[in-house]
């Protein structure tokens, strides 16, 4: 797109949105676009809970809108523009694949603020936010290491991207910390949500002798398979409480509500700024769901202690000495991983024998 058409377009678009003059006490309009349906019971569902929390917090002062099941790419750009044209002053784009569309649309609506989840591109009116899921993985990795009898734990990955690899490494490190004999088996489903495939992946892991399954995919199918085989697993994204107390012995919940409430509040009082937020357990963005009675009390206490020390900032899940899988040194004794390192993580830590598919 050349500069002239872009500028002309921006002028025309801003003329459009300026048209319905804003009355004094009009509520702040906040828009959300979701990659999946609200009823996915996982990723999108949790974002929508965050939206509902915003409504509950600010009542009449805000008005929220969402568009669900928006495909990534051209359709996302249109959905974002429609939201901006409809007068939304703050827009949350809740999928990695919305990154470029968000940046494009943001350049045409300089007075609208955008928040993009899990991406790395920012602008004056585009902030990014993400959750330190790996902190939660450390906690459930600990439980997994303690609970496994076969000393084999399985991990169902979605795509080999840094966020997922962080989770695999973090859970492995902490499982091994409490159980030096533990092995990790990784299966990639190449989907965030494909119940039948996830079930097959879980079965494949169970057949390999795994008795604890961790998942970074969104359906409950792995839990259902674990139940059949008498193994255990963990809720992912949402609590998946229907499977408690076993096979679901704990869960990692994406809790976007505090962040959404905070950022909407900042727009309301005019203090919003573009920034990159990467919040974790301490900020309440990553929540460990109820650890059930299927877990022995001392393991539960140990997991909760770890959770609290991560939450307070006392402990970083990636603290040296840690080596990479190829044997080279990654972190020296006492050194902690930088965020930059984590955000482009593309290696396993020492002890995981599988290879990351390229």
């Amino acid at each position: 797109m050349n500069r002239r058409t872009l500028l002309a377009g921006a002028a025309a678009l801003s003329a459009l949105i300026a048209a319905p003059a804003m009355a004094q006490d009009e509520p702040l309009k906040v828009g959300f676009i979701y990659v999946g349906p609200v009823g996915d019971g996982g990723w999108t569902y949790q974002h929508d809970l965050g939206r509902q929390a915003v409504e509950a917090e600010y009542g009449d002062r805000v008005e929220t809108t969402f568009i669900e099941s928006v495909p990534e790419g051209a359709d996302a750009e249109r959905a974002l523009t429609q939201l901006a044209l409809a007068g939304n002053k703050l827009i949350f784009a809740t999928s990695f694949g919305f990154m470029d569309p968000t940046i494009n649309v943001a350049s045409k609506f300089p007075d609208v603020k955008f928040e993009h989840a899990t991406g790395y591109k920012r602008a004056d009116n585009v902030a990014t936010y993400d959750a330190r899921f790996y902190e939660g993985r450390a906690v459930i990795g600990t439980i997994a290491g303690r609970m496994t009898e076969s000393n084999k734990i399985g991990y169902i990955g979605s795509f080999p991207i840094p966020e997922v690899i962080q989770g695999i490494n973090s859970s492995f490190i902490h499982a091994r910390k409490v159980n030096p004999d533990v092995e990790m088996k990784v299966v990639w489903a190449y989907s965030w949500f494909d119940p039948a495939k996830e079930a097959d992946a879980a079965s494949a892991l169970l057949a390999e002798g795994v008795d604890v399954i961790l998942q970074h995919t969104d359906s409950t199918a792995p839990l259902a398979k674990a139940q059949e085989a008498g193994a255990i697993g963990f809720g992912q994204a949402s609590d998946m409480a229907a499977f408690a107390p076993s096979p679901r012995v704990a869960s990692i919940i994406d809790n976007w509500a505090p962040y959404y409430v905070e950022r909407v509040g900042e727009v309301l009082d005019g203090t919003w700024e573009s920034k990159a937020t990467w919040a974790g357990i301490g900020d309440g963005e990553v929540v460990i769901g109820d650890i059930t009675e299927a877990v022995p009390a001392e393991v539960k206490a140990e997991a909760e202690a770890l959770r609290d020390s991560i939450g307070s900032g006392e402990y970083h899940p990636f603290t040296g000495p840690l080596n990479k899988a190829d044997g080279s040194v990654w972190l020296a004794e006492g050194e902690t991983a930088s965020d930059e390192d984590l955000q482009s993580m593309n290696f396993y830590v020492e002890g995981i024998t599988a290879q990351i598919p390229q």
């Binding site: 797109m1 050349n2 002239r4 058409t5 002309a8 377009g9 025309a12 678009l13 459009l16 319905p20 828009g31 349906p37 609200v38 809108t65 969402f66 568009i67 669900e68 099941s69 495909p71 990534e72 790419g73 051209a74 359709d75 750009e77 249109r78 959905a79 523009t81 429609q82 939201l83 044209l85 409809a86 990695f96 694949g97 470029d100 494009n104 790395y120 795509f159 080999p160 991207i161 840094p162 690899i165 190449y190 955000q343 482009s344 993580m345 593309n346 598919p357 390229q358």
Partner: protein, 358 residues
């Protein structure tokens, strides 16, 4: 007893009347559906059919109609030529993907070279890719008698996996922090397919779609090959006596529809979509089949049908946005529209005769 008697020639008045009837019937039943869901049916119908054209933000959504309709029309006009001849290419989705991959491949291989010929070369590659993918079912039919319906459908799945492979492997953006997906071509001026005139939505694909409509119209009504195609479709044996070589026709039809689908894929990946991802195929190739039939396999009909379908997509988004209608109800509404259009179509091809049983 009621009987359908075929018309010798498709009825002119009914050809115009049936789509209108179908749309009215959809509005009635769809309105009922929305009312049952607790929404104002009149407002819902107006939002879907009226607001994208004449509503508040119509100056944005009108051009978007073109963006959404262009690939549908481009693909459907090629498919319709084949359908007229009795050559059933239902794998346009695959040809679309491969065309997009080939075109994007040229750009990514040349990055960051700046030259005027890159975009034309991409168009050629897109056409060639789609053509080649379409020629596979053509040759297999000509050589072995394998059904082109089934081969072309199978090749869609293969193409989808090629796209995933490319997005995670060879075409992955080296500066993308390990995330899947290629470089964004919108940010590579020599390779991008921008909006040519501000706020018209018109990128090169829109012009290509119009050109395809005109070209196929000329082909079908003025050219000897068009006559052959029509002859082969209505009276295959007679056509053979008239010197039509079926093998040439099969290759021509699949090659043409493949090339147009490939071009549509290229325009999309270099323009609105911007990058190669595993979700490159968004279903345009399948929707275009419906467009071809709704348009009665006639170029002008296809133009209108493509715009109508685009309208329901954009109106459906607006309905989500302004009325919070769930995405699923919009999908149901579209399904109804298609059912009615397909059902009422019988009136154009058949006369209804009441017959008294003897």
């Amino acid at each position: 007893m009621i009987q359908f008697v075929p018309r010798t020639d498709a009825s002119g008045p009914w050809q115009i009347a049936t789509p209108i009837l179908a749309v009215l019937a959809t509005m009635l039943t769809g309105g009922l559906l929305f009312a049952l869901l607790g929404h104002d049916p009149v407002a819902a119908i107006r939002t879907i059919f009226w607001d994208p054209l004449f509503g508040m933000a119509a100056s944005y959504s009108r051009p978007q109609l073109l963006v959404k309709a262009a690939p549908l029309i481009l693909i459907a006009s090629g498919l319709a030529v084949g359908f007229r001849a009795g050559v059933w290419n239902i794998g346009a989705e695959g040809q679309y993907i491969i065309g997009g991959l080939c075109g994007a491949g040229v750009a990514l291989a040349l990055y960051p070279l700046d030259a005027f010929w890159i975009f034309p070369a991409m168009v050629v590659a897109g056409l060639a890719g789609g053509w080649a993918w379409g020629m596979i079912p053509a040759l297999l039919r000509n050589w072995f008698g394998a059904s082109e319906i089934l081969v072309s459908l199978m090749l869609v799945y293969v193409a989808q996996r090629v796209a995933a492979w490319m997005a995670f492997g060879p075409m992955k953006n080296p500066e993308g922090f390990g995330f899947p997906g290629s470089r964004n071509l919108q940010q590579y001026p020599s390779a991008s397919n921008p909006e040519l005139f501000a706020n018209t939505g018109a990128h090169w694909g829109v012009f290509a779609a119009l050109a395809a409509v005109i070209a196929t119209w000329v082909l079908m009504s003025r050219h000897i090959r068009g006559f052959h195609i029509r002859a082969a479709g209505t009276a295959p044996r007679a056509a053979r006596f008239a010197g039509v070589r079926p093998q040439v026709l099969v290759a021509f039809c699949l090659g043409l529809s493949g090339a147009l689908a490939g071009a549509a894929g290229l325009f999309e990946v270099a323009g609105p979509a911007g990058q190669v991802t595993d979700k490159l195929g968004t279903g345009y190739g399948f929707t275009a089949i419906i467009v071809a039939f709704l348009g009665r396999l006639h170029p002008v009909g296809i133009l209108l049908a493509g715009l109508l379908l685009a309208l329901t997509y954009i109106g459906g988004e607006l309905a989500q946005l302004t009325m919070q209608l769930p995405a699923a109800s919009v999908q149901v509404f579209q399904g109804m529209l298609l059912f009615f259009l397909l059902g009422f179509d019988i009136l154009t091809r058949f006369r209804i005769v009441r017959r008294v049983r003897a």
